[in-house]
């Protein structure tokens, strides 16, 4: 017979729990006797009487002593191991009644509850968003920061730390993305397909993905980088990482890059990085004059519409040819009405309009700066041709974004209509998750207050950025606009060209 003991230091178990373990160990093959006890003098005496121990095993009252008698050394060892494992096993926490669920109050707590998490979506006030993002990166999570008001120093530190950890930080101010088919933030419901998008522009990403969807094509991944990623201070850290990912992704056949004007050296580096994937690249870097025209494998697009068209073609389908006007006959203008008033909720739409109009119309004013565009001294009052980004902090301070709350823009539409100089009121309607549940209905009071053309009013011209799958319904929104007397374009570039054509026809 082989006898052996093992001491488990600093453990207290109830005698019933120990008896239960003792009896289970006794039943093991080759075990003739076994006992687990708290090593109090009285218990040790019991083991001595039972012949399980001899003399002083050296255990203390706060220790559990396992004592086994077995036929072989192997059985002895196995029994001691089994007893120790049982003693050390984490108890399954029984629901002893009451509410077991606890609200998750921190990222770390959420990670305890959802150990598979690999991504944090952060939409907190800006000053705290950076802290949550740093935490996420430290915890090995990829990040999308919907929040804005994050300093560029923080953005650089975050993206650098993430990059070193093999993680991606999308944002700050990343409004939208589609990852693995999941719409993140303000995203449209877009068909899945083989076109991968990397965008430093939220509405740019939405416009291109919606046009791709309309042509029957689809998106593999749509990665937002935040508007400053192609700034020379950030150097395209996230854009490059996203391109690398899309390059390695077997489901992505075409890569589309979208941004507002990038720093030229960053644009060059990013384009070279994209070309290196060996996949066809479509680049729509608004306001950027390509200094790399010979970069093989890159198709440059000057509008979002063209970018979508090129991507659709590369995907093997045929989209609407870019460059056209709306199909309806162009209306004439009333009296002295001669100026465009474009009221955008999407910042990139505003910027795209400015790049298109800068060389076409004289005296274009905006709250967004762009080549050939003059800055409004008072953005609350329009001057000559005025193109506004109503999502600018200036307008959103203390109120929700105009994609959610239409009151500010409605007031502005009414005001523009009352200005005898206003010839065309141009606006965007953005659908998708996060946007207003029925935006045209929300705008209807203002739109119906604008005098019709036959009553001497201005032309109402709009377009819808959305898909048939969006909760608001693309067709329903377009029809509602038409019913309110709005000329409905397919996309922003077409709307801008149409506005320019209407103004030109009047001259």
């Amino acid at each position: 017979m082989n006898m052996g003991t093992r001491i488990i230091a600093d453990m207290y178990r109830d005698s019933v729990a120990l008896m239960k373990i003792s009896s289970a160990i006794t039943l093991l093959d080759g075990v003739s006797q076994a006992s687990c006890i708290m090593a109090t003098p009285a218990n040790l005496d019991l083991l001595r009487e039972a012949g399980l121990i001899d003399g002083d095993p050296g255990a203390r009252p706060n220790e559990v002593l396992i004592a086994v008698e077995a036929e072989t050394d192997t059985a002895l060892g196995a029994a001691l191991d089994a007893a120790e494992a049982e003693l050390r096993a984490d108890p399954v926490i029984a629901d002893g009644g009451g509410d077991v669920s606890e609200p998750l109050r921190s990222i770390e707590m959420a990670l305890d509850a959802n150990v598979d998490a690999n991504f944090t979506l952060i939409a907190t006030p800006g000053p705290f968003a950076a802290a949550e993002a740093f935490k996420s990166v430290r915890l090995g999570l990829n990040v999308m920061m919907f929040s804005d008001n994050v300093s560029i120093e923080d953005e650089l530190a975050l993206k650098t730390q993430a990059d070193q950890a093999g993680l991606m930080v999308m944002g700050p101010d990343c409004g939208t993305a589609i990852i693995d088919g999941s719409p993140l933030g303000f995203a449209n419901v877009v068909r899945r397909g083989d076109i991968g998008i990397v965008a430093a522009s939220g509405t740019g990403l939405q416009q291109v993905s919606c046009l791709i969807d309309a042509a029957g094509c689809g998106v593999s991944q749509a990665i937002g980088t935040g508007g400053r990623d192609l700034d020379s201070r950030i150097g395209g850290i996230t854009t490059k990482r996203a391109i690398t990912s899309l390059g390695a992704d077997p489901d992505t056949k075409i890569i589309v890059l979208i941004s507002k004007p990038p720093a030229p050296d960053v644009a060059k580096a990013v384009l070279e990085h994209a070309v290196a994937t060996g996949k066809p690249v479509v680049a729509c870097l608004l306001g950027h004059t390509p200094s790399e025209p010979s970069l093989s494998g890159v198709s440059f697009a000057s509008t979002l519409e063209e970018a979508a068209y090129l991507a659709i073609a590369a995907s093997g389908a045929t989209g609407n040819k870019p460059g056209g006007l709306i199909e309806a006959a162009l209306p004439g203008l009333n009296a002295d009405r001669r100026y465009l008033r474009a009221l955008y909720s999407g910042g990139t739409f505003c910027y795209e309009a400015l790049t298109m109009l800068g060389g076409t119309l004289d005296a274009v004013y905006s709250n967004t700066s762009s080549t050939g565009i003059q800055t409004l001294t008072d953005p609350w009052t329009s001057t000559a041709h005025t193109v506004l980004d109503l999502g600018d902090d200036l307008f959103t301070r203390g109120r929700p974004h105009p994609m959610i709350d239409h009151r500010l823009r409605n007031d502005r539409i009414v005001a523009e209509a009352q200005d005898p100089d206003t010839a065309v009121i141009l606006f965007d309607v953005v659908l998708g998750h996060g946007s207003h549940e029925d935006p045209v209905a929300a705008m209807a009071p203002a739109l119906s207050a604008v005098p019709g053309q036959k009553d001497g009013g201005p032309v109402l011209l709009g377009f819808v950025c959305g898909t048939g799958g969006d909760p608001q319904g693309l067709t329903r929104q377009r029809e509602a606009m038409a019913d309110l007397g709005v000329l409905v374009a397919d996309n922003n570039a077409q709307a801008v060209r149409t506005a320019a054509a209407i103004l030109e026809s009047a001259q």
Partner: protein, 467 residues
């Protein structure tokens, strides 16, 4: 998208609940964080972000927690404060909680100090004692600065008897005063002649009897008694009936053999037997022993003391030396004895929250569901409290288990980072003192440690790291 995520998208959604639904509808996993700004302070939030998931802090905490688990508080005997406390001044009085001046002290602590001055023979009357105490001739210091703890006012003066607890593993000694029993007692600020007479009896009769008894008994390890009491309905802070009974079981046979005269034996046994909180001071000194073992590990974010002086609540952190991080002490939510109400309550007082710091007390509330009735709670609230504390602790102490949670080990090692990040404040079971000296206990209840102590500590810990 293998190299970006390597696994299907699984999202933690922070800030805007509405963003979760489309992700869920698309079939991806998403959990919502009920987010609130950490400490409602941008700088604290940023400091915290720098401390999350750091290998050096995790290693420091592992060390500190390992020492806490390894500590083996052992009752060695009883001694007189001036003989056993290193550096105790001849005219020094120790009190509970973080440091405080006479002018700032609450009435029960002042009353207790006045009583101690009379007891020491430094003054004839409590009124004279108060003048003396305010004169600057008496110096004051926290018990914690001398390795000691005391419930409520926590008064230790030079000639008071103290329990001596040794941790042979770390060769460290901690102390507490002896529990006076219930009713009019010094720890609630009472200082009438009968209170003083009782203290003298404790010094002259009880202490020598305990010395003789413990000499006969030999070393008594305290963790097994605490562990067993947790299985008998105590949480070893506000309920000590089982632990006191277990202690008496050990003491009486030794006392019978200790050669005490019949009258002394009878008086001592009667006194101990009449006080269900007799074990409390031992529980506290044992907790102090375990937490002192964990204290002083550079970089560790674990809390090693929570204590209140009736005006302020203070915490100490293993990696932050002897600094106290303080906030105003809370008023306690609880049940009051007949004739008393919240209006009579003194703010949170005493060193006894060392038990919660140690993973027992309210952290082990599941062991003692009766406690939640103080705040109109249910037994399941007690279980929830013990579970909830697991979200702000570093680990679990397998020496202390909770039957009602299927013998789950108690959550222990409060991590200042987790407290600030979750906003979950450590829960504390406590007695309630009357805000006037000498009236005594007026109720008992449950309170929470103020979060600002923890956010200040987070800021200080962040300063110790350059990166």
């Amino acid at each position: 998208m293998s190299d970006l995520f390597g696994a299907p998208l699984s999202v933690i959604n922070v800030g805007l609940a509405q963003f979760a639904e489309p992700i869920r509808a698309a079939g991806a996993n998403v959990v919502d964080v009920e987010w609130a700004p950490p400490a409602h302070d941008e700088d604290i939030a940023r400091a915290l972000a720098r401390l999350v998931n750091r290998a050096d802090i995790e290693a420091a905490n592992q060390t500190a927690f390992g020492r806490y688990l390894a500590a083996q508080p052992t009752l060695k005997g009883v001694g007189i404060a001036r003989d056993v406390l290193d550096g105790l001044g001849e005219r020094m009085i120790l009190h509970s909680g973080p440091p405080i001046t006479w002018d700032e002290m609450c009435a029960p602590v002042r009353g207790a100090i006045a009583g101690a001055c009379v007891y020491e023979g430094w003054a004839e009357t409590p009124a004279e004692a108060e003048t003396l105490a305010g004169s600057g001739e008496i110096s004051f210091a926290p018990c914690h600065h001398f390795g000691a703890v005391g419930p409520m006012a926590g008064i230790i003066s030079p000639s008071m008897p103290l329990w001596i607890i040794e941790d042979p593993v770390h060769d460290h000694t901690t102390f507490s005063n002896l529990n006076e029993g219930l009713g009019k007692v010094l720890r609630f600020g009472a200082n009438s002649p009968d209170v003083i007479a009782h203290l003298e009896w404790m010094r002259d009769v009880l202490a020598p009897a305990l010395v003789a008894t413990l000499e006969t008994l030999g070393d008594l390890e305290l963790k097994p008694i605490m562990a067993q009491a947790l299985h008998m309905g105590d949480e070893v802070h506000n309920r000590n009936g089982a632990a006191s009974a277990l202690l008496i079981k050990r003491l009486i046979p030794a006392a019978l053999d200790a050669g005490l005269d019949a009258k002394t034996l009878s008086d001592v046994v009667t006194f101990i037997n009449s006080n269900d909180h007799f074990f409390l001071n031992l529980s506290m000194a044992a907790c102090k022993s375990m937490l002192d073992a964990a204290h002083g590990v550079p970089g560790s974010s674990l809390v090693t003391a929570m204590a209140r002086n009736g005006v302020n609540f203070g915490i100490r952190v293993s990696g932050l030396g002897d600094t106290w991080f303080e906030a105003p002490a809370s008023i306690i939510d609880g049940l009051f004895f007949p004739g008393y109400s919240t209006a009579d309550a003194n703010p949170d007082l005493g060193d006894s929250s060392i038990t919660e710091t140690c993973g027992i007390g309210a952290f082990a509330m599941a062991a003692s569901p009766a406690i939640v009735q103080f705040v109109g709670g249910t037994a399941s609230d007690a279980l929830a409290n013990s579970r909830r504390m697991g979200h702000i602790t570093f680990g679990r102490n397998t020496a202390f288990t909770l039957p009602a949670l299927d013998f789950m080990a108690t959550p222990a090692g409060i991590d200042i980072r987790k407290v600030v990040d979750t906003g979950i404040a450590p829960v504390i079971n406590t007695g309630i003192a009357h805000r006037e000296a000498g009236i005594g206990q007026v109720g008992a209840g449950i309170t929470h440690a103020p979060l600002t102590c923890f956010s200040a500590a987070v800021a200080a810990l962040a300063e110790t790291f350059v990166d």
